[in-house]
Amino acid sequence: MIDESLVSSTLSEALRTGGEFAEVFAEDRRSSSALLDDGKVEELSSGRTRGAGIRVVVGETTGFAHTSDLTEAGLAKAARAAAAAARGGGGGHQVVALDRVDAPSPNEIEVLPETVAKATKVDLLGRADEAARAAGSAITQVSARYADGRRRILVANSDGLLAGDDQVRTRFAVSCVAMGDTGMQTGFESVGRPIGFELFDEYEVDELARTAANRALTKLAAQPAPSGSMPVVIGPGGGGVLFHEACGHGLEADLVAKQASVFRNRVGEQVAHPEVTLIDDGTMAREWGAYAIDDEGRPAQRNVLIENGVLTDYMWDLLRARKEGRESSGNGRRQSYQHLPMVRMTNTYLANGTADPQDIIAATDRGVYVAHLGGGQVNTATGDFVFGMSEAYLIENGQIGAPIREGNLIGNGPEVLSGIEVLGNDFAMGSPGTCGKDGQGVPVGDGTPTLRVASMTIGGTAA
């Protein structure tokens, strides 16, 4: 991508006017996607971006510039712009000799997507369309998307760090519309892994399409969601996003440092049921948020955030960690070379409990069973969150009953953590997600076993 000697001279240029720390992040990204909608393959799309972002730190100030010109002149120009933005005075900081150390990747790539014929990718779409439509005559519309991406990065900084990673991701999603007497309903299913085309050895697209179609068909018979506070049972893998949003974001050190987290000053405290252990693990092989190094060149780590209900640590990026005189936890990520890194999650999950999931449902007199949560958001300062329920059922007399129409689930992060009553022994990871923070999206994974929260507010229309 760029020559190592060029990296070294760029770092020197960046520090020439007095920066204390400089970093070059170079990225070369290729992507391809194919979309089928309305029975037709609309188009194949290919993308290519390449560039470098340079940051210079002076005191509390970070200067940042990026360029798509990776020549020596282009990089030097960006380095000077970043240095000028950081407004350093004096000079004297030297670049430590670069020492390349690559971390092992948690993801082995068998079949690079770029080596797969376009026709083979397109063929998956037609199969998904056919399978979804065959699931029921009420299925009136199907769209399917195939997408792959390869992102090669190289990071170097004035502390002598030099590391690279080659990140491949492959994803497939199906979305269906079903038409019934009560109007239209939708169903969605997606899979994705940080691996190549071998994803489709593991998943049959026909099966994914049937799952999406069945979700839409099931909802045709759904009743309006109830409204008010009640017990909520979350199914395995279906609700990890809740803990990502409601707890994970509040454990990001940048938000904690700015007083924007309900979890500030709470390390060492019992914040949840003693059976609750929350982990963020960037080394989880083949999971959507896994990588060898983060976007600051730090190897991915497994970080235990809450252990047996006790808050153990936050997640850290390089700058936050330097201020505290500690090491980054491998959570410094950025959307692309055009962005500054910040503290981000990887694969965030609640570890397995011991209860039989059937017993958890049977012990719930009246409540809601959420098989699948949709998107959501959290206010990290208050802990208040909101999620869409994309697949949910009523629980009556200890049994899963009628499906309910879409509605939101609201609550408060710390309250939900302390409201977890029981955890099942059926841990599963959820669907691949994209986490948004301060305008940047990065791929993340999540997971949970079946669990019950004593009370959350369901925002339906039924009285």
Binding site: D38, G39, K40, E42, E43, L44, S45, S46, G47, R48, T49, G51, E60, T61, T62, G63, F64, A65, S68, A82, A85, R87, K118, Q141, S143, V177, G183, M184, Q185, T186, A225, S227, G228, S229, K258, Q259, A260, V262, Q338, L340, G375, G376, N379, T382, D384, F385, V386, F387, G388, R405, E406, G407, N408, I410, G411, T457, G459, G460, T461, A463
Partner: protein, 448 residues
């Protein structure tokens, strides 16, 4: 780079077209600055320059697309070759085709203001610092300013096609945003404020600071009310978010593909008679105003709902042709994607009552000042929605205590029919729809 240089690149690509091929090249360039301050210091200062190209090829009724984040000459050729290769694998569709000049004159809009170019880095930093200080000083309960930012952008783009489209545009924009934290006792609440403009002298530090302070402090002491059916007043910022979703259901693409709850309803009364909804990117008041759409056609004023009656769907060239009509100048896209269909500057025609009068007429209700999770809680296909909300109770015509941790739920269809009044306080916002106070009857508010 100026638009003429970009057009030259786009024309060069189009010139490489072969017989029987349609080619469209979209070229963009932008320069951005962002300053973030924290506790009186510059936390980060970013300067960015980016460019890119998107190329669409149509041949034998099939479409292919490719994009690249650079304008290097050899990459342009590679990108065209890739787009051309991609056409082979698409399904044939007789309605594929690029936009063709349709004789509509683009509006004269003044979207580019040189004053932005003369605004120096120190002045940008000072403005962000001034904003932070103003938020801090706004109320003793403000305990922190999570971020105070100044940002600006200078963007230019050009579109050329083998069908004769030649379009260029450029604009300037700048903004201030602040995120604030207020605290009382054990409780913390957050707020935000912003100001946007085409050049810095139109930015209003005081307004951005006042909103950030009020949004954070007004929710202190809020509690969760019991579940009941109430009349809600949506504040302008909330209404604008709902309008964006309603607008998406009126796209010709959603209609053609069986994903719009308003398909087959042209001419029907789909909303209360006081609802008139217009998408008008030719309106210079709109921050999202533009003289050309994503396919290079002139933008135009489109009446979507008139007096509650559904008048029209929006189209790009493809959906217009396929539905037997024509583009409404509503193609929306960046250079990295093919054109979709969407609203560009949506607004309700305002009524004649200011929000105070609307509130005075309500016995039992809620003034909704913020919603969260709206996008995850709305199904634009079925129309069901449920969103987290916060605001102030309305009792006997007056604003009362703050409430939080509530959801409001209904369907989009029901909500449009239940609009009891539209306020007179139309406000343009930095998004593709404008805000106005809106009174909606019979909404389920879920709480404890």
């Amino acid at each position: 780079m100026n638009p003429e240089e970009l057009l030259e690149i786009a024309e060069r690509i189009v010139g490489w077209g072969r017989d029987g091929e349609q080619i469209e090249a979209v070229v963009g360039h932008s320069q951005e600055t962002e300053v973030r301050v924290y506790e009186g210091e510059i936390e980060s200062l970013s300067v960015a320059e980016s460019q890119g190209v998107g190329i669409r090829v149509i041949a034998d009724d099939r479409q292919g697309f490719a994009h690249a984040g650079t304008l290097d000459p050899e990459v342009l050729e590679e990108t065209l070759a890739e787009a051309r290769d991609n056409t082979v694998f698409g399904s044939p569709d007789e309605f594929f085709g690029l936009a063709e000049p349709d004789g509509v004159e683009p509006p004269e809009l003044d979207l580019y203001n040189e004053a932005l170019l003369e605004f120096g880095t120190d002045a940008k930093i000072d403005m962000a610092l001034e904003l932070e200080r103003a938020v801090q000083a706004g109320d003793p309960r403000i305990v922190g300013v999570e971020s105070a930012d100044y940002g600006d952008a200078l963007s230019a783009d050009a579109i050329a096609t083998t069908t004769g489209i030649r379009s260029t545009g450029r604009d300037t924009s700048c903004y201030l945003t602040a995120y604030s934290l207020a605290s009382e006792g054990d409780e913390t609440q957050t707020g935000f404020g912003f100001s946007v403009g085409r050049e810095p002298s139109t930015l209003d530090v005081a307004v951005a600071a006042k909103d950030a302070v009020e949004r954070a402090t007004r929710m202190l002491g809020a509690t969760q009310p019991p579940t009941e059916r109430v009349t809600v007043v949506l504040d302008p910022f909330v209404t604008a978010q709902f309008l964006g979703i309603i607008g998406s259901t009126l796209s010709g693409e959603a209609v053609l593909k069986g994903r719009s709850l308003f398909a087959d309803r042209l001419g029907d009364q789909v909303a209360a008679p006081n609802v008139t909804l217009v998408d008008d990117p030719t309106n210079p008041e709109a921050f999202t105003a533009s003289d050309a759409d994503g396919e290079g056609l002139a933008t135009r004023r489109n009446l979507l709902i008139g007096g509650g009656q559904l008048e029209r769907f929006l189209h790009n060239s493809y959906t217009g042709r396929r539905s037997g009509s024509a583009s409404t100048g509503s193609a929306v896209r960046g250079y990295a994607s093919t054109p979709g269909v969407g609203c560009q500057a949506l607004s309700l025609v305002p009524g004649d009552q200011p929000p105070e009068e609307l509130i005075a007429g309500i016995d039992n209700g809620v003034l909704v000042q913020g919603v969260s999770g709206l996008h995850s809680g709305v199904n634009p296909v079925s129309g069901d929605f449920s969103t987290g909300a916060e605001g102030l109770r309305i009792r006997n015509g007056a604003l009362a205590e703050p409430v939080r941790e509530i959801t409001i739920a209904s369907t989009l269809q029901r909500m449009l029919l239940d609009v009891a009044a539209v306020g007179s306080d139309l406000t343009w916002l930095p998004m593709s729809s404008a805000g106005v106070s809106l009174v909606v009857a019979e909404v389920t508010m879920s709480g404890a």
